[in-house]
């Protein structure tokens, strides 16, 4: 293995193997990923230690490694660890799903929550909550079905000899408006208790999540993340336009279909587990891209950024408002608003507006 080009320190370089394989090595991106993983883990430890019964970080780590006292072990392993894991998995899924959507739609605002997947999943969940007063599991299944149906509808309606970014975005916005109306209708049909439950769900919350939510998310991530990363190369080519990437040997429509299905599955599963936590999918890829300063979809950094963001936001919501007062979705919503304003300011300053 030898480096083919001499490049200044910190710049991307191409690694070539004698067998004819080559890949890009981006030191900055690797550092960012490492930093984000550390940040996510640190935030997780702090989050586990936060609550009505605070535990110092050192004790948390000791308990996680298997030698804490019995009381701490119960609190950490049974009550708080699954919640944090759900947070990490949901954040990672949303970050990755958002990066995929933004890359396919070629638009920094084209994230699944703007395109109606969140609304569609909400419609599925509300049907369960309002019409059937369903259990938590039924609500999860309803949300999953709602998200998948919405994703399929958007893809089919945007299909016209291939799917173009702009059509995907606009069809998504149309579907989102319809789903919003359906949700509004279901809310007016609900009795007051169901309505209150529905509003909390619609905001996105990690309260009361346990191991039952962890396993399916983990299994899905184990299948989809490698699949997505294997197709990441094609996605990167596709940023140059369909014709160019076609000429470079990418099967554009197939790669797009695989990635869209993966993104819809990831987003729907994450939404089913924690509700439509807003703006993580929108902001995580953008923040990751700014940190790595690397063009392209930045899939792995977005994934890590999503996980770090959601866990930090959950911690912030517990510290700022008290445990169980306001769900994590409120914090990410504020975050999204700030991001939009910041986008406005920088785009203006850059003379692009």
């Amino acid at each position: 293995m030898k480096t083919a080009q001499k490049t200044p320190h910190g710049r991307p370089r191409a690694l070539r193997t004698p067998g004819g394989f080559s890949f890009r090595l981006e030191p900055r991106a690797l550092i960012v990923v490492a930093a984000l993983v550390v940040a996510a883990l640190a935030a997780s430890v702090v989050l586990i230690g936060t609550g009505d019964f605070p535990i110092p970080a050192a004790d948390v780590v000791r308990t996680l490694l298997g030698d804490g006292n019995a009381g701490q072990e119960f609190i950490v392993n049974e009550l708080r660890l699954p919640r944090v894991l759900v947070g990490l998995l949901v954040g990672a899924s949303l970050g990755l799903g958002g990066a995929l959507f933004q890359a396919v739609s070629r638009n920094p605002l084209g994230s699944p929550d703007v395109l109606g997947l969140g609304q569609g999943a909400t419609a599925g969940a509300l049907v369960m909550i309002v019409l059937f007063s369903g259990s938590a599991n039924q609500v999860t299944i309803g949300a999953l079905v709602g998200g998948l149906v919405t994703g399929t509808l958007i893809y089919l309606l945007a299909w016209q000899r291939g799917v173009h970014g702009y059509r995907l975005v606009l069809v998504g916005i149309g579907i989102s408006a319809i789903a919003t109306a359906i949700n509004g209708y279901l809310m007016t049909k609900a009795d007051f208790v169901d309505a209150a439950r529905a509003v909390v769900w619609m905001t996105g919350t990690l309260d009361g999540r346990d191991w039952k939510q962890v396993w399916p998310l983990l299994a899905l991530a184990c299948v989809l993340v490698p699949l997505v990363l294997a197709n990441g190369r094609g996605l990167r080519m596709m940023e140059m336009g369909d014709d160019v990437s076609h000429a470079l040997g990418v099967r554009v429509e197939r790669v797009r279909l695989v990635l869209m299905v993966s993104a819809v599955l990831l987003t729907a599963a994450a939404t089913a587990a924690a509700g439509p936590v807003s703006f993580v999918a929108l902001t995580a890829p953008q923040l990751a891209r700014r940190l790595t300063r690397s063009p392209g979809p930045n899939l792995v950094p977005s994934l890590c950024m999503g996980a770090a963001l959601l866990v930090t936001a959950d911690w912030a919501s517990q510290r700022l408002f008290g445990d169980g007062q306001l769900p994590v979705g409120v914090v990410t919503g504020v975050l999204g608003g700030v991001y939009l304003l910041w986008l406005l300011v920088t785009e203006r300053r850059a003379g692009r507006i």
């Binding site: 929550d113 606009l170 916005i173 579907i175 109306a181 807003s278 939009l340």
Partner: protein, 347 residues
Amino acid sequence: MLVDSVPEQRAETAPAPPNRLAIRSVGLFAAVAVLLLVAVASIAVGAKELSVAQVLHGLFEDSGTYADVVVDERVSRTVLGLLVGAALGLSGAVLQALTRNPLADPGLLGINAGASAAVVTAITFFGVTSLTGYVWFAFFGAAAVGALVWFLGGSRGATPVRLALAGTAISAALYGYLQAVMIMDGAALARMRFWTVGSLSTATDETIRQVLPFLVVGSLLAFALARPLNAVAMGDDTAKALGANLNRTRALSMLAATVLCGAATAACGPIVFVGLMVPHIVRSFTGPDLRWIMPYAAVLSPVLLLGSDVIGRVVARPSEVQVGIITAILGGPVFIFLVRRRRTAQL
């Protein structure tokens, strides 16, 4: 210059020949007739069916019978529907011309959401209860979001996709805020979940009296802007060459759209897609001249709104489906159809 050198072309650029004018005028009268029919239907149809004779009795010789009281209630509702429908249609026509964007709609651009968020803030945090009190909040919210979307969507290079995305993203942020308010405040939840879907059922004579001045001013302003907006539609440079004052036209158009949409939202909650669909349908038979689009839109939008309201009263009897939900369910497919029909180059 070209027109001077080629005399035949002058005939085409001259005002529409009388027969086209006649057709359009007759069409407008026909539209008004349809509107009257729908208005009568809106008074007659509901949880209690009324015959046309009962409707006429209630309208012209009110003697306080049960049917007459029902007619009174439904008349307020119908009049508000007329006003709000016209306001939404006009603001949609203005926004589409101003942004040169065939997909512009006060709902999609987030202006409704801005007004909603401001009204919720007024009701929850400032204890404002009267419509005259919170209509100002609605204007402020609508104007602030309108400006924000305009900047975020890229004021000069505003493509339909960018504007629609900016509007949707800001709406999403504002709905997040609404949800937070509803989680914290049970009383707000009890009221807001009915208000945020958009409904005519709360209409009273008082509501109409309070929003009427704003809607009249906004409509007059919109009609006055038809000519300069026609010029703006040809592109900035041509508009300047034709003598239009671009900045003034833009500012006044935003003002008109904001007043119309803000007042409509304050009166009956956010209603999407009316402002999108009607100007589109109208344009397909009037052509691009706003001096014809606007009157047609002002007449046909209430037809759509009242028609949707009647449908909403019929489909789930004896309860009703709010008009905002019916317009979204009707309008969403129309929107997607428009998106699919358009070629990449046109967007």
